[in-house]
């Protein structure tokens, strides 16, 4: 699983271009010219929002046309209206709320546990040479285990309860945090750390004053990746063994031939995932401005 591939900035226009540090006085005539060109439009919030919506609207339109034209039977491709009604039906039965609630709960629990452990392990490996030597080979090997390989073992050990699912999600959330935090701590500017030491900072005070603030942007990036990963592992856990949740709804709908519900749940997962990612993304942007 590659974490890096999810690291793109989904709202490119809002990312600020930073000049080299310690340099604000130098005039850059070239940039002003560029700003009058395409740079201006892509940095407008409304444009970013509208342009980002173009593709989904296009897909929806094509979907509506194809399903209305009888080219594909509705047992293969339900119309957008049917999918919407399936969602309304699920909501009216009270299943929608309970599915979303239990899934969100599992994601948050697993994410919280995995991220906390990832932070701890990342700090151990990133800050101490001996921690690195002792832990990193084992963790690298565990990271190479495909997520689904854990499922049989977890079910045998923890049965088909909440524990097995939360643990699987925690495993998924652990590695992005561990990887980014340990790497970031290893690459904290040596000069800054030495300056901190030169002014009498050691141990926890050095960590709190120099190392921790220096890696906060990376920590947030790691948390963002971990949250995305938590959603992936949630569905994996729920697909295999559960009686509630969005993943269960997918399997249940497959068994009952409710393709409209399958469509609805997939879209719901996309929306929920994007929404939680955007929230953390906003937080991340604020943190990066604050700490760099």
């Amino acid at each position: 699983m590659t974490y890096q591939s999810e690291r793109d900035d989904r709202v490119p226009g809002v990312v600020s271009v930073q000049g080299p540090s310690y340099d604000t006085t130098e005039a850059r005539p070239g940039r002003a010219f560029l700003a009058r060109g395409t740079g201006r439009l892509t940095s407008k919030t409304w444009f970013v929002l509208v342009a980002g919506a173009i593709l989904p609207i296009l897909v929806l339109a094509v979907w509506t046309l194809v399903s209305a034209s009888d080219l594909v039977p509705s047992s293969r491709l339900p119309s957008p209206t049917e999918v919407w009604l399936a969602g309304v039906d699920l909501a009216q039965r009270g299943l929608l709320t309970s599915d979303v609630a239990i899934s969100v709960q599992r994601v948050l629990l697993g994410f919280g546990i995995g991220a906390a452990l990832g932070l701890t392990a990342g700090a151990l490996v990133g800050l101490s040479k001996i921690g690195d030597i002792l832990l990193s080979p084992t963790l690298a090997a565990l990271r190479a285990v495909p997520s689904l390989a854990w499922v049989p073992l977890l079910i045998l050990w923890f049965k088909i309860g909440e524990d097995s699912k939360v643990i699987l999600i925690a495993i998924g959330a652990f590695f992005p945090v561990y990887t980014t935090v340990s790497a970031a701590l290893r690459h904290v500017d040596r000069h800054l750390v030495e300056a901190g030491r030169a002014f009498g900072f050691t141990g926890p005070r050095l960590f709190a004053t120099v190392q921790l603030p220096a890696v906060i942007p990376s920590v947030i990036s790691g948390l963002r990746l971990a949250l995305a990963q938590a959603w992936l592992f949630l569905v994996a856990a729920e697909l295999i063994a559960s009686s509630m949740g969005l993943g269960f709804r997918l399997v249940d709908s497959q068994n009952n031939g409710r393709i409209d519900r399958i469509f609805f749940v997939i879209i719901l997962l996309a929306v929920l995932g994007k929404l939680s990612d955007s929230l953390v993304g906003l937080f991340e942007r604020w943190v990066k401005r604050r700490w760099s």
Partner: protein
């Protein structure tokens, strides 16, 4: 020590303290494997009076910075020892403060909060804040106390770094090519600023530099570090010159020109004008930088 009594009187008026190098040597372990250690410094013997400004001059890689780092406790001598105010340096020393070649400010802190890093531990908050404000004023950054490091120029960042070192109230100020990364004009201004600062906050200064003119402008004495011809044994003090005249000195004086020629010669630089009147030696500073 025979001169303790006379030095005591100096210390009463300032916190500046003496430095003694007793046969200091430093060898680094071989890069890989168990090869022989690589000697960098050997047999450094020097006494620095409290309040004295001593410039350490030498070619690249001759161990200037290593000597400075040993004095501050950032590195340890392989042989001999450094004593500050008579007692040996073991580990990071609270009596010293370092100004690095790069500003090394924490980018997420304001100038004010960066300078506050230098305050001795246990400084009361209000007293510390007042001291920081005073120092920021002293280095001329009064209007920029709330700025982040990336919002100010390189010269300003270096001044903030200087203020941070002074915040520690050091008996010994260790400056490692503090103006080396600045442009020639800013460097001249910073030298004058440093003299003003030393007048306001007197302290002993070790200044590592590769700029002969900077050494002559700022220092009471200049130490020239060099290796023997073979270059196997590590560098030691090749020359120790007392710079005449009170600071600030006339940058173009003939007396300095003679010293400059001698130092450049010691650094292995051809003065292009041997035998000529010393006054003819070039005085354009930018080209003199090694």
């Amino acid at each position: 020590m025979t001169t303790t009594a006379s030095r005591q009187t100096v210390r009463d008026v300032s916190r500046a303290v003496s430095i003694d190098f007793d046969g200091v040597g430093r060898a680094f372990a071989a890069e890989r494997g168990s090869g022989p250690a690589r000697p960098v410094l050997r047999d450094i013997e020097l006494h620095v009076e409290p309040g004295e400004v001593v410039a350490i001059l030498g070619t690249s890689g001759c161990g200037k910075s290593t000597l400075l780092r040993i004095t501050g406790g950032l590195d340890a001598a392989s042989t001999g020892q450094v004593r500050i105010d008579g007692s040996p340096v073991i580990g990071i020393d609270a009596r010293t403060a370092v100004g690095f070649q790069e500003p090394r400010l924490l980018p997420w802190r304001t100038v004010h909060d960066n300078v506050a890093i230098g305050l001795p531990r246990g400084t009361p908050r209000s007293a510390g804040s007042a001291r920081v404000e005073k120092l920021i004023e002293l280095v001329g950054l009064g209007d920029f106390a709330g700025h982040r490091p990336r919002e100010i120029s390189g010269g300003m960042a270096q001044r903030a770094s200087l203020a941070r070192a002074l915040a520690r109230n050091p008996g010994v100020l260790l400056l490692d090519e503090p103006f080396g990364a600045l442009d020639a004009l800013t460097r001249l201004k910073m030298q004058d600023l440093l003299l003003d600062i030393l007048a306001a906050e007197p302290t002993t200064v070790l200044l590592v530099t590769h700029d002969v003119d900077e050494a002559l402008q700022l220092a009471d004495r200049v130490v020239l570090l060099a290796r023997d011809d073979g270059g196997e044994a590590g560098a030691t003090i090749a020359e120790l010159l007392t710079v005449p005249g009170a600071r600030p000195r006339d940058r173009g004086s003939s007396e300095l020109a003679e010293l400059r020629a001698r130092l450049l010669d010691g650094l292995g630089i051809d003065r292009h004008g041997a035998g000529a009147d010393p006054r003819v030696v070039r005085t354009d500073r930018a080209s003199m930088t090694l």
